[in-house]
Amino acid sequence: MPSQRLDTRVREVRRDRRMTQAELAATVGVSRQTIISIEGGDYTPSVLLALRVATALGSSVDALFFIALEES
């Protein structure tokens, strides 16, 4: 049965907006390390933080985060 994991397009959208990780972190109010972890899929943000990231990037949560299926 395939397992589910959260995948993200934050990095792609951020680059499209020509923002650095530090700039996005400052706008959202988190550390740059947190942005790195979110982009790398190492950290699943809360709904509140996901909304703040989406707002900062002028995007939506469902455009930035989605469920990826992978064979376990």
């Binding site: 109010g29 988190v30 550390s31 390390q33 947190t34 972890s37 979110i38 950290y43 943000p45 809360s46 933080l49």
Partner: protein, 163 residues
């Protein structure tokens, strides 16, 4: 109506869960993970210290191992209290044994109990006798827990029952 947050506010303060110096939510989460790991390490270490005291510290080692054990039990008591106030059912004692951590804890308690019985064997004072009986009681509880676990595992539904 009190929320889970209000029911656990004192414990949250003790744990420093809302300390702004912990940084953003990811950083705070890692602080919480670190605290959970540290609590378990301290718990296991305290039981090891108590077992060593019971085996190598003579009668006084046994006496002082008991408050050490009670202090280590605070980890479990606090965890259970926090879970209860958050409306999360705790795990039945016999099911905890299934995990490697639970098995290690029981094994260390067994080492402590045997060490206590050995050190205070042939007890001459009422205090020694009481402690020896306590160690015996721990052994009985450990045996009963293991038996309950064994029975529960063997009394589960077979695959045929699930058809």
């Amino acid at each position: 109506m009190p929320t889970t947050y209000h029911r656990t506010s004192l414990l949250r303060t003790i744990g420093g869960l809302d300390d702004p110096r912990r940084g953003d939510e990811r950083s705070n989460r890692i602080w919480c993970e670190a605290g959970a790991v540290a609590g378990q390490v301290q718990y296991i270490a305290a039981i090891i210290v108590a077992a060593v005291m019971a085996w190598a510290g003579g009668r006084h080692g046994v006496y002082w191992s008991i408050p050490v054990l009670w202090t280590s039990a605070l980890t479990n008591i606090t965890t259970s209290t926090y879970l209860a106030r958050s409306g999360i059912p705790s795990i039945a004692a016999w099911r905890r044994v299934v995990s490697p951590r639970g098995g290690l804890t029981l094994f260390l308690l067994l080492v402590w109990a045997v060490g206590t019985a050995r050190t205070l064997g042939g007890a001459t004072t009422g205090r020694d006798l009481a402690i020896t009986l306590t160690a015996g009681l721990v052994l009985v509880v450990l045996a009963a827990t293991a038996l309950a676990h064994h029975r529960a595992r063997n009394s589960g539904p077979s695959d045929d029952d699930l058809d």
